[in-house]
Symmetry: C2
């Protein structure tokens, strides 16, 4: 029987990983280097900064992150004084997480960095291809939620 012809360089999960790691590594310098943050911490910060108060579970669902990672990231951000927990009247198991003013400042600084970096990537690709890319990735993510 003939050998299976497998094209590694056209394999979508491989390409996605390579592109994500390349982009991630490049951007990580902005938050790991300057703020000593983990990727998960940055994600939690970004979600709270963008969407306001959330519970840990909501962050998990939105960010497709493990609850244990979120738990630790929340703890780290809390110790840094960037985040506070508030009791929820309707469910005493859960906590409403929200950013302090200092946390919001950090978010603003990183968001500005992110906007710059995103613009750089989009200029590399051309705005049209970049928009198409974002659309296809979103579709892919949505399809995987099942």
């Amino acid at each position: 029987m003939a050998e299976t012809q497998f094209d590694l360089e056209g394999f979508l999960p491989y390409l996605l990983n390579q592109a994500a790691e390349a982009a991630g590594r490049e951007f990580a310098a902005a938050y790991r280097g300057r703020y000593g943050m983990t990727r998960t911490q940055w994600r939690v910060l970004a979600h709270l900064g963008r969407f306001g108060a959330l519970t840990a579970t909501e962050i998990c669902r939105r960010a497709m992150e493990e609850k244990t990672g979120v738990s630790r990231a929340v703890q780290a951000l809390e110790e840094r004084g960037w985040l506070v927990r508030d009791a929820l009247a309707e469910d005493r198991r859960a906590e409403a997480l929200s950013l302090t003013p200092a946390g919001h400042d950090a978010y603003q600084a990183l968001a500005a960095e992110a906007i710059r970096f995103d613009a750089l990537l989009r200029s590399r690709l051309g705005e049209e291809r970049a928009a198409g890319l974002a659309e296809v990735l979103t579709a892919l993510i949505g399809a995987a939620r099942d």
Copy 2:
């Protein structure tokens, strides 16, 4: 001053990561579940199966992988009997890595799995969008190599 408006859900590194993790998690069941392999091990196997004998450094460069990760993956694949090291006459620091027949069999099985999964992803997206995605990702990866 107005707040910086940052659109997390359109941020390309974020989308890339989400899509890559979603696709990777889904496919990982094929090699982690059935063969107990690490992602790096799978990558090393794939590169050797696809491109023949390589040195560890060449794999690092092609796969954008850390040399320490490759070192450990090679060791694991060697212990499993899927890979052999051959001395290189022209440079006694480096080793030529290549798959054994058993390793090649494993590669074939996983490649078949990968082809199936890739086809599934492409059918989800539609062939046209999938091809465009692959092209843009390749461009992004190429641009990041600088």
